[in-house]
């Protein structure tokens, strides 16, 4: 239930993200989720796309620095307290979260989590009857 996330190093310059979006668009690749984390002179764009291998190929062709990280995508009902319950399980298992990002739609919400130990995090969550999305599910959303 692990999902491949792409991380792209971008200088803080006008139009860098636009160019990435355009390259992916031209290659017919869809972005399911993304987040940008920035420092004073550069940013890291993290994204989950419909065709990871192809995305890496087209981005590297254009000389982008792309790295791949395994993350989990947790399904969670879109209501008060639902996320707290999941977080409690993760923290209780002694797993540290490097970063996470989320999107909600109607009754459901999805949280992408990058823990320090991704394998164990997935195990703990499934053992506690929480739903993790496979890559294929995520692209259908």
């Amino acid at each position: 239930m692990l999902i491949k996330q792409l991380s792209i190093f971008l200088e803080n310059r006008k139009g860098r993200f636009t160019e990435v979006a355009k390259i992916l668009g031209d290659a017919g690749i869809n972005m399911s989720a993304f987040t940008v984390s920035e420092s004073s002179d550069f940013g890291i764009l993290r994204l989950i796309v419909s065709d990871t291998d192809r995305a890496i190929e087209v981005l590297r062709e254009q000389l982008y620095a792309v790295s791949i990280t395994d993350v989990v995508c947790l399904y969670c009902p879109n209501r008060p307290g639902a996320l707290a319950k999941a977080m409690d399980i993760i923290t209780g298992a002694g797993i540290f979260i490097e970063y996470m990002y989320a999107f909600a739609q109607g009754d459901s919400a999805h949280v992408i989590i990058r823990p320090d130990d991704v394998g164990r995090c997935a195990d703990v969550l499934t053992a506690n009857k929480l739903t993790l999305l496979a890559a294929s599910d995520l692209y259908k959303l």
Partner: protein, 433 residues
């Protein structure tokens, strides 16, 4: 292997005698045939009769690059132009180019000097040498070319640029040696890796690199990336071009062919000779050149000389790696900074590509000092913290080596321009009033 054993292994005292005889001859030649040298010597109250041995060289006035510009184009020629068979010129990024003229004999001395360099790095008539220095006014291409022909090797006269073709012909023609600038060698190594042709399919064993200062760590980088032994060849247009000296198989300093090009080291401030083995500015006098003799030419290159016999058997004086140039040196916030120091730090860190750009500016009367670097693909991360940690690591190392803290800017892959010839490592935007 030694090309000219009599000269290259000559006893020191005998060499000094030879140098003394030749110095006297070249000073006479310059004095009687060049108004410039005659006037300068007369101003010091000197005549050729004051030169009796090589020790008398310190009596003579210096020549500097500006003198070549002031006498542009042919003011320093000591023979009629009918005797000059070839001209070369330096790139002249500031002001007029520097022009040099060679007689037929000068060309033969030049190829003799390069032949010694090629033998010193183990090349013979059985080897093909790819000359990837620029051909043309620049001395690099044609200089190496003449030397390879002299030893009877096979020249592949590629010139610079067209990197894909360079690699293809290096592969197809079985080049045994590559001659180019060290920064271009790095670029070729990178491009070969990307081309996917296995390194074993190349015959390349030896590199002869020069025309810009480079470091020990850059040597290791090139040797690793191309799978070769990399040697320094030294030279400058004003003296003859590449081939003034080169390393031997011991890689323990660059042997200078001091029977033709007499080296001295001076303190660039007091202009007095330094103690033997001490670093300072390198000064050359051409002892045999006819077309355009150079008397005590200040190279601005900073190095030291060693006269002990080398493990290869040569007695020819050895020069340390060029530490920098007395005019390349940047003064940033009052601190002397050499690009070679920046380069040494970068090459010592496997996380970074061996390319960099120093950008200096002045904002609110304070110097800004930025170094742009690229992170190697394997070291990029999805976490800001990890990239910041890399940045901190290189910043600390730079500070400890240079003495002031630079602003490190990590740029996207391939943003720093790869050079085909001499790499541009510094942009100084300071406007001093």
């Amino acid at each position: 292997m030694i090309w000219n054993e009599t000269i290259e292994c000559m006893e020191r005292e005998e060499m000094r005698k030879l140098q003394g005889i030749r110095l006297k001859r070249v000073v006479e030649h310059a004095y009687y045939n060049t108004p410039f040298y005659r006037r300068k010597m007369q101003e010091e109250g000197l005549s050729p009769d004051d030169i009796e041995s090589i020790d008398d060289i310190t009596k003579l006035p210096f020549t500097v690059k500006q003198d070549l510009r002031d006498t542009y184009p042919f003011g320093l020629m000591a023979v009629p132009m009918s005797e000059i068979v070839r001209l070369h010129a330096s790139s002249g990024t500031t002001g007029k180019p520097v022009v040099v003229g060679y007689t037929r004999k000068d060309l033969s001395i030049w190829s003799e000097a390069v032949a010694r360099c090629l033998y010193a790095v183990g090349l013979t008539r059985n080897d093909a040498v790819q000359v990837s220095y620029g051909y043309g006014l620049f001395t690099g291409g044609l200089g190496l070319h003449g030397g390879v022909e002299k030893i009877g090797g096979t020249v592949i006269p590629m010139s610079s640029g067209n990197t894909q073709k360079q690699i293809q012909l290096m592969h197809d023609f079985g080049a045994k040696a590559l001659a180019c600038t060290p920064s271009y060698a790095l670029y070729l190594g990178e491009t070969i890796k990307e081309s996917g042709i296995p390194r074993e399919e190349f015959q390349l064993k030896t590199g002869i690199f020069g025309a810009e200062p480079w470091t020990e760590s850059m040597r290791r980088e090139i040797e690793e990336s191309l799978g070769i032994k990399a040697y320094d060849i030294y030279g400058l247009t004003e003296i003859i071009g590449p081939g003034v000296g080169s390393e031997c198989e011991c890689q323990k300093g660059t042997h200078l062919w001091e029977d033709h090009f007499f080296p001295e080291i001076i303190d660039p401030k007091t202009l007095l000779p330094v103690a033997p083995g001490e670093p300072g500015e390198l000064v050359f006098t051409t002892l045999t050149k006819e077309g355009m003799p150079m008397i005590r030419y200040r190279t601005r290159d900073l190095t030291a000389l060693h006269h002990e016999k080398c493990g290869c058997g040569r007695t020819a004086v050895r020069m340390d790696r060029i530490l920098g140039r007395s005019d390349d040196m940047l003064i940033i916030r009052g601190v002397n900074v050499f690009p070679s120091q920046v380069e040494a730090v970068i090459l010592g860190l496997p996380e970074f590509e061996p390319h960099y750009l120093i950008v200096v500016d002045r904002v609110n009367n304070t110097d800004t000092f930025q170094i742009q670097v690229e992170v190697r693909p394997d070291y990029y991360s999805d976490e800001i913290n990890k990239v910041m940690a890399l940045k901190k690591k290189i910043t600390m190392q730079m500070q400890s080596v240079i003495g002031i803290q630079p602003e490190i800017k990590i740029v996207e892959p391939r943003s720093i321009e790869r050079s085909m010839g001499k790499a541009q490592h510094v942009i100084d935007n300071r406007k001093l009033v």
